[in-house]
């Protein structure tokens, strides 16, 4: 079970409590503990969190209008969000960013992604190849930045002293009038004296406004010590967590940030330069717990609409038919893999895995099959009988099994689609209790802000 599923289960257990008593709370707290620890969240933090939950659970004066159960769910959610670092404000004009981190954490890849992100926001980007140690590092960075048009790339071949490269790079890029300079650095352990000395020199030469630590989502309990050591050496004031597309959810990295007070700004979510997501703890939490992240889905849908490719909301208004089914599959590939879409919809636990992994080839076959259907059949697939399947199979050159598979696939997705529709149109009625609470929590937060 993943972190999200376990937390969700624990929260559901809170919702379903008949009586709030010591034993019940203990059981739930234990489950939350296990979930967090297996996601690499640092053990001391987990213990602290569970102590707070236990204390709050039996508080005498509850906030007005909340039952003890609701109070418990709210504070648990609140604490979890706080543990994961809240919602940071991403710097709009960072000027100079230095990326540091362990070996192979994804610094060079992150530079490409950052260049892409800030270029979209109207900045002219310069990149300095500050990793003069690792074989192939300069070539890698050059190829990565070439993917982001208009980026100025600077390196000094055969110069082994990174500080020298940086000084020369700063001069050169200043001439080219860039607004943001990104600097790469060699991977290192911050517990190694030699390497720390070097990063300090590098830091001095570059004088960054921002020094961001790049951590892999799969890092374990070591995260805290390394983060602290990097912080002591060069003053880390931001974090990027990479490889969140694997099964690791970044618990270790997230908790490490909590202890060094540096906010997580971005998550790396894939291998392309556009696979960079702004971090937002409540949203992240909602997503991994399966309560859906409609906001980012709609954002993404809107982006696609602008490109005039698919209109998700319009599709929602009309019923689900084979046309929509096909468009959906096609669109899903554009919006990233279908399972990412499902994750954003909070449905990832409800869709069979095979359906999310439809390949390019399959999609082509589906298209051929559908081309052999009549208009009527496409709008109302229930019409399709055995003899029609036979005809469609002959017409499309695909086997009857494949036609049936398409129909089965369609029916399964139609079910999911209904759920999605309900969630979207009826304001998440399906996950009533929890959703209400989360909304309530957000309202409360807003009120707090207003009071200030």
């Amino acid at each position: 079970m993943s972190l999200g599923e376990r937390l969700r289960k624990a929260m559901e257990a809170v919702q379903n409590l008949r009586v709030v008593d010591k034993d019940a709370i203990k059981e739930i707290v234990k489950e939350i503990q296990r979930a967090l620890i297996s996601a690499d969240v640092e053990v001391n933090l987990v213990l602290e969190l569970s102590r707070r939950i236990e204390r709050e659970a039996f508080k005498e004066d509850l906030p007005k209008g909340l039952t003890r159960r609701e109070h418990l769910a709210t504070i648990t959610y609140e604490y979890l969000a706080e543990l994961l670092g809240g919602t940071p404000k991403i710097p709009e004009n960072p000027q100079r960013i230095l990326l540091v981190g362990l070996f192979g954490s994804g610094k060079s890849t992150a530079i490409g992604k950052l260049a892409n992100y800030y270029k979209k926001r109207g900045l002219k980007i310069g990149v300095i190849a500050g990793d003069t140690f690792r074989a192939g590092a300069v070539d890698q960075l050059k190829q990565v930045t070439a993917k982001v048009e208009g980026t100025e790339f600077f390196s000094t071949p055969n110069e082994k002293n990174a500080a020298k490269v940086i000084r020369a790079g700063l001069q050169e890029l200043e001439k080219k009038k860039v607004n943001l300079i990104l600097c790469d650095s060699a991977g290192r352990s911050a517990l190694d004296e030699e390497l720390v000395k070097e990063i300090k020199e590098l830091h001095n030469a570059f004088k960054p406004h921002h020094t961001w630590l790049v951590l892999g989502a799969d890092i374990g309990q070591l995260a805290k010590r390394q983060a602290q050591a990097f912080h002591e050496a060069v003053g880390v004031n931001g974090v990027i967590i990479t490889r969140t597309d694997g099964s690791a959810k970044g618990g270790g990295a997230l908790a490490a940030c909590h202890t060094t007070n540096a906010p997580v700004y971005f998550l790396g979510t894939g291998e392309k330069v556009s696979d960079l997501e702004e971090f937002d703890a409540p949203r992240f939490l909602g997503k991994i717990m399966g309560y859906g992240d409609l906001q980012s889905l709609l954002e993404k849908a809107r982006e696609l609409e602008e490109e005039n490719e698919t209109d998700l909301e319009e599709m929602l208004e009309h019923g689900f038919n084979l046309h929509v089914f096909y468009e959906q599959l096609k669109a899903a590939r554009k919006m990233g893999p279908l399972n990412k879409v499902a994750e954003m919809m909070g449905l990832n636990m409800q869709i069979p895995k095979e359906q999310l992994e439809i390949g390019e080839e399959k999609l082509d076959h589906y298209k051929h099959i559908m081309d052999s259907m009549t208009k009527k059949e496409k709008l109302n697939p229930d019409l399709i009988t055995r003899s029609r399947i036979e005809r469609i199979s002959r017409g499309s050159g695909r086997t009857e099994e494949e036609v049936r598979e398409l129909l089965k696939h369609y029916k399964q997705l139609a079910k999911v689609y209904d759920k999605f529709k309900n969630i979207n149109l009826e304001k998440m009625q399906s996950a009533k209790g929890m959703q209400k609470l989360m909304q309530g929590f957000q309202k409360r937060k807003k009120k707090k802000l207003r009071l200030k």
Binding site: G104, G136, V138, D139, G216, D245, G246
Partner: protein, 348 residues
């Protein structure tokens, strides 16, 4: 790397032996049957008569033990210690199931055991911990050079998640083989990641090894195939195939990996992972084991003060040997690895 776990296990044996010691003393004092010793009762709200009876029996047993010169620890007495140990193991990146397996094994070894009181209790406990660790870490041993006798060229595929250190490890392996007079050919089958071909090229040049490469975006399986062919022609001893890093959740990349395996037919599939990866490493490795099979592991970056629990969990859950650990940035920083290495480092 194992400093952390070593300290925690030491704490465990020492505190437990202290506890055993105090119990011996207590047991010698004739206890008041109405009022059983307090400390064991922490955490219990109320005592049921049955529990008290049990406790009384326990005390009686201990008196007997003290007289015969041995002591017994009950399950209940062990529990808080084992719970604490489990947490310590988790803190050392030991994966949850493995931590549970280890504590359970220890419980089996200790509960109801007669501990000879004259003997040093601490060393007795240490012996038990060693036995428990040994038991959960049992795997088949692989000697690389024995394996290489089997076939020429010996094809090694190196795979793993992004940024684990595959390319660097290949360079180190080449150096290791060269030192034993073996000739290796490198295959740059990572045609995806920016700079990967140049990276391996630099290493090949420095190590004076032949490199087989195609362009970026080429079929990795084809690169691997060509390398094997070249090795056959040149009578090389080994082919080392470097492929792109991948997350186990990416179906297409797993298919690509399967294709490389189908085409290159590697004799040894090595999974390269970071020693400081947390609980996720096991999941990654298990998926790869299921999809393409793993023969052995290499753990990298242990010079970062990794806690080392990862190694224990890998051995326990996948029962595949760890061949080497990467200990630094030089070519020579690749050290052979055996479970005894863990045992000696943890129990010292």
């Amino acid at each position: 790397m194992f400093d952390f776990l070593k300290k925690k296990l030491n704490d465990f044996t020492q505190r437990l032996s202290q506890k055993a010691g105090t119990q011996q003393l207590e047991a010698i004092k004739i206890p008041d049957p109405q009022k059983p010793p307090q400390e064991k009762k922490k955490g219990l709200k109320e005592e049921s008569p049955a529990r008290r009876l049990e406790a009384d029996v326990g005390v009686a047993k201990k008196v007997a033990g003290a007289l015969t010169g041995s002591i017994e620890l009950t399950q209940k007495e062990l529990e808080p210690f084992l719970d604490e140990l489990e947490l310590a193991l988790l803190e050392g990146d030991v994966e949850q199931e493995t931590a549970q397996a280890l504590t359970k094994e220890l419980q089996m070894q200790l509960a109801g055991q007669k501990i000879p009181s004259k003997e040093n209790v601490n060393s007795f406990l240490k012996e038990k911990v060693r036995a428990a660790l040994e038991k959960i870490m049992q795997t088949r041993q692989v000697n690389l050079f024995d394996e290489m006798e089997r076939k020429k060229p010996f094809v090694i595929l190196v795979m793993g998640p992004n940024g684990a250190g595959k390319t660097t490890t290949i360079a180190k392996l080449t150096h290791y083989l060269q030192a034993k007079g073996k000739k290796a050919i490198l295959a740059s089958a990572d045609t995806f990641r920016a700079g990967s071909i140049e990276q391996l090229e630099v290493h090949a040049q420095k190590l004076n090894a032949r490199l087989v490469k195609h362009r970026y975006g080429a079929d990795p399986a084809a690169v691997a195939f060509d390398a094997v062919k070249a090795a056959n022609a040149e009578r090389a001893d080994a082919v080392l195939i470097d492929c792109a890093g991948r997350q186990e959740t990416n179906k297409n990349l797993m298919e690509e990996l399967k294709k490389i395996v189908r085409v290159a037919k590697p004799d040894l599939k090595i999974y390269v992972g970071e020693a400081y990866t947390g609980q996720a490493l096991l999941h990654q490795a298990q998926t790869l084991e299921k999809e393409v099979g793993i023969d052995a592991f290499i753990l990298t970056k242990i010079d970062t003060d990794a806690k080392g629990g990862t190694a224990i969990s890998l051995l326990h859950q996948l029962k595949k040997p760890i061949l080497f650990v990467g200990t630094g940035q030089g070519y020579g920083d690749l050290k052979p690895f055996t479970p005894t290495f863990i045992l000696d480092n943890i129990l010292g």
